[in-house]
Symmetry: C2
Subunit: 316 residues, 2 copies
């Protein structure tokens, strides 16, 4: 089951090769075929139609079930909110509708976006968890059921299930998308995020939602410089974590990036530093100290070789 590309759907709809209603019907059909196994949706509307206008007409969207919807119950992944029907859409959902998207259903969430797992399967491997808390949104995109989904993140609840399910996701800057009507986990950290098949799809979705054309990638992407900072703030990583970083590094290099890892071995020669924000951290005295002229340690800088590389090194 290949993923649905939002960008590709838009191109076909704009070219007149696909009607917006047919695009929605594709999603409904895919949901009908796969969700019985995957269990990404809490509830859905099989009679939903496409809008006549807007950049997201023909785009079927799933909404994480801690986000208020006027057309669907919002059950927070908890029996406490069983059957709970908000009176209004959360502003993030209103933005989707204004852009012409069709809301096809609510996606599973761990209870109150916390740690209790859902019953949703990981479409890449049914024996694995899809990750959480935005489990259903990540799984529904990964399973090729919908081209776009909303999730929320307080710590890592968007980027974690995206990485587990092998889909692209963005946790935008704080407050780029409104969090009103989202069940509060942390007033200051809660962030609405997006899931899609690839980076271009995400960019188009976020641009349509926010009405910001500058979020669309330019035709030729400037060569990005990617730094992977592994400074030892919180102790040494587990072996599997280090190995995952190595695999990601290889993937980034394969996609056109170059770089090298220089590890700092001076973990015993540390002193306390107060950073710009007033936060105190410990760093190696020799090469990681502010103002040091020695090479930054334990840091990997990658520079992509090919300008215009379609996706660059990323999750997808």
């Amino acid at each position: 089951m290949p993923m649905m590309s939002l960008a590709e759907l838009q191109r076909r709809i704009d070219a007149g090769n696909l009607s917006a209603d047919a695009a929605i019907a594709q999603s409904l059909e895919a949901i009908g075929a796969h969700d019985k196994t995957i269990g990404a949706f809490v509830c859905r509307n099989e009679a939903v139609r496409a809008a006549n206008a807007g950049p997201l007409r023909g785009i079927a969207v799933g909404i994480k079930d801690i986000i208020d919807t006027a057309d669907f119950p919002t059950q927070m992944g908890s029996k406490i909110y069983s059957g709970w029907q908000p009176r209004a859409d959360a502003p993030a959902v209103m933005l989707l509708k204004q852009a012409g998207a069709s809301i096809v259903g609510k996606t599973t969430t761990t209870a109150f976006a916390s740690v209790d797992p859902t019953a949703t399967l990981n479409p890449r491997n049914h024996g694995h968890t899809p990750g959480g808390s935005s489990s259903g949104s990540a799984a529904a995109v990964a399973a090729g059921m919908i081209p776009l989904a909303l999730g929320t993140q307080t710590g890592g609840s968007v980027i974690r299930p995206a990485s587990f399910c092998g889909v692209a996701a963005i946790k935008p800057s704080f407050r780029l998308l409104p969090t009103v009507g989202v069940k509060c986990y942390s007033w200051t950290l809660d962030t609405v995020g997006l899931f899609a098949a690839g980076v271009q799809d995400l960019a188009r979705g976020l641009s349509a939602l926010t009405n910001r054309s500058e979020l669309l990638p330019a035709a030729a992407i400037e060569t990005p410089r990617i730094g992977v900072v592994t400074q030892d703030f919180a102790g040494a990583p587990e072996g599997a974590g280090g190995e995952a970083l190595r695999i990601a590094t290889v993937a980034a290099e394969r996609a056109g990036a170059s770089g090298s890892i220089r590890s700092c071995r001076n973990s015993r020669r540390r002193r306390r530093w107060r950073g710009n924000t007033g936060r105190i951290t410990t760093r190696c005295r020799r090469c990681c100290a502010p103002g040091s002229t020695k090479a930054p340690a334990q840091r990997l800088l990658l520079t992509t070789r090919r300008a215009g590389s379609r996706t660059g090194p990323g999750v997808h």
Copy 2:
């Protein structure tokens, strides 16, 4: 109809001269007697009882009707939310209950805490508005129906109706009281505030709600220095506004304060200054400019003469 002092009720309950249930019954009786005229309540619970423990046992509290309550509908002052029943109390209401308060009902609000007036009368003068948006909370305290009420303020929706109705109120620091479960007007500015008969009553209420004993006033209050800044950032005030300031100044002086107004007449000799926050303002070149050694202009500094003055210059 004298106002009910929270501090006085607490003293009588603590001394065993008044039962907590009798204190609640007093409020229910006063509501029965006066609310038909004033119209401060949207709905109420006449069967409410006192809690057995907690610093606010025996204290009847009214809750502005944009704050979620599990025991009452929350109608936002709008027909759109007619009969709307939240599933949970807002955390600010939970804090009240944890402190032993009894929620007697929901108080009127302008629709969505915006500008449409309520039908509530000002208890001091039935021909005047009680002010808004927390109209019912201010009026219920002013009419002697309850000793404590919650309101909310985005711009001036607590301090305005308090001043119109002649009651004490506090708009606490941002985030001292949680705004989760309060209908959002502005994510960053919305603030839960308190209404009570006097400053001591407010302090006891806020201290009980937040479990912060440092909010209780000391027996002898240090002489406060009060500055009234009238610098001409937004043009000259209306005549009535200037007159109101003069009246407040006289009242403050009567309560023990001393001070003088020196007006800056150099409104045409201005230049732009960038303040500490990066915000650009215009100020008179001669005496208001940063670093100027001349006397600050258009500024009134009041210093109270009597230490331990019970209320000091204030609204109440």
